[in-house]
Symmetry: C2
Subunit: 327 residues, 2 copies
């Protein structure tokens, strides 16, 4: 039983516009009224107009041999290692990798993804969603090119995703601090609306509970966004004499905590590896993993989709290992 697939003309008719206008919306061209764009996008969604049809009508027989990686920023060593792993896989599949940064702005994420998927027609996208990612955006764009979420999962989007074992890793690191004898363990972290942060905080609570330690909200400092923020938060807690150890929920938070902890006799654990841990004069417990392999893993899933593998969304969890270094 085959059904006729909708064409661009069907979309135009349903939206009450010309096929040329549909093409302009699909190409993400400028100077299209917002209502017109919305009407066309609604018609595309309702008719289930598929990327393949678009490709056939607009770009006959071509692929761009390009995939995109949309990250937060290229400077954080976590993202640069992920980029390196993804680039290597893209190269093996004869694709180039375009790298773009959201800098945690949803507006920028939306503009980038539209440009990459609709105008530049990349063959697929690896995307680290921002905290404010809208479900509709990914539903709309996922129709045109396979997308794999990396590191985080936006709420309510049934999509492919490759994430770290955030909860398990955080739990084990905090358990390690408990085993080292610490009892008043603070949590320093970023945006609690991001799934990674939420899961790591859950792991922290779980470890306290298993150790029979009380959860004290006064020891949880969230919404630190820079090394400086984390340093200030940790210094405040040390000065108040309220803590004997810290769990930092990522590598930036860890650097800030380490600055505050210089000379203080406090334990430190963190999510993410830090290269210089061995050089520190005191021990630090880290949730480590192979970031390049993580990026490569996500890229392999993306290429499997590009090459037509299955359709039911796949969630893959990359394992972590807790190590104590330095001292």
């Amino acid at each position: 039983m085959t059904q006729r697939r909708p064409t661009m003309h069907d979309v135009a008719r349903a939206a009450g516009v010309s096929p040329a206008t549909v093409s302009r919306v699909v190409n993400n061209e400028r100077y299209i009224r917002e209502e017109t764009r919305a009407a066309v996008e609604r018609a595309i969604a309702e008719l289930g107009f598929e990327r393949n049809e678009a490709a056939r009508s607009l770009r006959p027989g071509q692929t761009t041999d390009t995939v995109a990686l949309v990250i937060e920023d290229a400077v954080n060593p976590f993202w640069s290692a992920v980029t390196d792993g993804a680039e290597e896989v893209a190269r093996r599949h004869q694709h180039m990798l375009v790298v773009a940064s959201t800098r945690q702005s949803y507006d920028r994420e939306r503009d980038l993804l539209r440009d990459l998927v609709l105008r530049r027609r990349v063959d697929g996208v690896l995307v680290v969603p921002t905290a404010h990612t809208q479900r509709d955006l990914h539903a709309e764009l996922g129709r045109w090119a396979p997308m794999v979420f990396l590191d985080r999962v936006p709420a309510g989007v049934p999509a492919d995703a490759v994430v770290l074992d955030n909860q398990g890793g955080a739990r084990q690191a905090v358990q390690s601090l408990v085993e080292q004898g610490y009892r008043r363990i603070a949590y320093v972290g970023g945006d609690p609306s991001v799934t990674t942060g939420r899961s790591r905080l859950a792991g922290y609570k779980q470890a306290l509970k298993r150790a029979g330690l009380p959860f004290d909200p006064a020891l949880v400092r969230l919404n630190a966004h820079t090394v400086g923020d984390a340093r200030t938060a940790a210094a405040d807690l040390i000065e108040a004499g309220e803590v004997d150890a810290f769990f930092a929920d990522n590598n930036r938070m860890c650097v800030g905590v380490l600055h505050a902890a210089r000379g203080a006799r406090v334990g430190v654990a963190a999510f993410d590896d830090i290269e210089f841990a061995d050089l520190l004069p005191h021990p630090v417990t880290l949730v480590t993993y192979d970031a390049a392999a993580f990026g490569a893993h996500a890229a392999e899933l993306l290429f499997a989709r590009i090459n037509g593998a299955g359709t039911s969304p796949k969630r893959s969890v990359h394992r972590t290992t807790v190590v104590t270094r330095g001292g």
Copy 2:
């Protein structure tokens, strides 16, 4: 006085092939005999066939709105900061940035550049040449798209380049070690055929000379390519009791030297910043600069070329500052 510009048909005639074959070579398609490719490339070079003609014949009225950055690898924090700065400038010019890594292989550099310039038609390329870069490659590809060399300059290619003040920075860092009282200062570095390494070694020698200290080749350890290599080289020198300080010629070498120097009473200086320097229990002297601004600076020069600015090659030196941190 205007001369008729050569067309693809002229190239085809000169090379004794069909225009379609010229197009296939220019498009870097597969399954072209190496001799045919060589004949076409020779004809292109001899006739001075220009990119504009190619663009007009093959891609009428279009640009790709894409520029490329070809670096060594994405993981080194130096390259990731450069990438971040270049991406921001590309974005301001409504361009996407494709990032590709040579991993220090000339074969890979050649394949990447041909693919980017000839097949994908990027509007311009920022490239960090490998140690073995061939003059002909850049002369050939520079005809099709503006290229700006970043960080290093291949010998004998009169091209745009943005570099750091390698010699001056290294000289000042070694002078600082002398002022700190060190007299037997070793040099740990990578490939001496790369211009950055050569200039930094020259700065080291200059500082010794100015201080009236002898240059001892036994204290110079080159061809270290990894953190592990640098660590071994530095550990050997420490064990022999031959040195009281090290100058490491980049951030990777510095991490290796710092590992070897743990617990030893030796001075350490290095080219490049390292984020964790403040956390170390001993001082380290660093040649710092704004790597993101460096990448942005090179990208701005590339866009000036893309937009038609001048033609005489421009060499721009980005300044460095020596600081002592940690301790």
